[in-house]
């Protein structure tokens, strides 16, 4: 019964993605299609494929957002060298735990469970949920930027 409901939701969101006029709503419906597909895979017992589907959905939505930004006409701000150095330093700091605490060896944080086992056997559902959270954040950023762009367009039209 749940599979039928998810399948119905999948087709409805696919139709909405095609027929909705506003671009942001279409992209939202496409994200819904990806989520429904991932749920369908997970319910069918293919959690690994569901994780792949969510990751691909996030990538597609992010690339759609990036291409939308590229298509809009606005001047690009130059990044200062201090900012670049700061970001590089942040990346170096974030990589320190991976350098000093090897997560692949089982004897650091987990006594008997290796990283692969904990990722695929224990934390599969958690990883799917994290994917949904990232997808929601990407959609939120997309909607906020779209509204800002709309406001700017109204302002430039008024002048």
């Amino acid at each position: 019964m749940i599979l039928e409901i998810v399948g119905l939701g999948l087709l409805i969101s696919a139709c909405l993605a095609i027929f909705l006029d506003e671009a942001v709503y279409s992209v939202s419906a496409l994200a819904g299609t990806f989520i429904m597909t991932a749920i369908l895979y997970a319910l069918s017992g293919a959690v690994f494929v569901a994780i792949f589907q969510v990751a691909m959905g996030i990538g597609t939505i992010a690339i759609l957002f990036l291409s939308g930004e590229m298509l809009s006409e606005r001047s690009l701000k130059k990044t200062s060298p201090v900012m670049i150095a700061g970001v590089a330093g942040l990346g170096a700091v974030l990589s320190l735990p991976a350098i000093f605490f090897s997560i692949s060896s089982p004897n650091n944080f987990y006594s008997n469970v290796s990283f692969g086992d904990s990722l695929w056997n224990l934390r599969a559902f958690d990883t799917v949920l994290q994917g949904f959270v990232i997808l929601t954040v990407a959609m939120g950023i997309l909607i906020i930027l779209y509204q800002r762009k709309k406001k700017n367009r109204i302002r430039s039209g008024g002048q």
């Binding site: 087709l11 993605a17 095609i18 671009a23 299609t33 895979y41 069918s44």
Partner: protein, 105 residues
């Protein structure tokens, strides 16, 4: 639930959108739906295969879908930048005008 029928329905929606919609974003969404339908079919087909063939099939399906997304988006951005519009019919009109100009020259 018959997943083949579900994927055929999604394929139909995608083809309908590809044939009727004129906006580049809608064309992209239609192609995504077609690719998702194909992947759904592959995933459900893989359930009846041996382990290695199944994994190979899935990796092939997902990488193909990602490649389709990347190529279509890149083409969309290039065409939109070149002709300054997102309407497919206007882009075709621009291409015809360019061809006519090149024939005259």
């Amino acid at each position: 639930m018959d997943f083949v029928i579900l994927s055929i329905a999604m394929l139909g929606i995608g083809i309908y959108g590809l044939l009727t919609k004129r906006h580049l974003l809608k064309v992209f969404i239609s192609i995504e739906l077609i690719a998702t339908a194909a992947t759904l079919n592959f995933v459900m087909l893989a359930a009846s295969m041996t382990n290695y063939v199944r994994e190979t099939l899935l990796i092939l399906a997902f990488s193909t879908e990602t490649a389709i997304t990347a190529v279509v988006l890149a083409m969309m951005v290039i065409v939109s930048k070149k002709y300054g519009t997102n309407d497919v019919s206007k882009i075709i009109q621009h291409i015809k005008e360019d061809e006519e100009e090149s024939e005259v020259n």
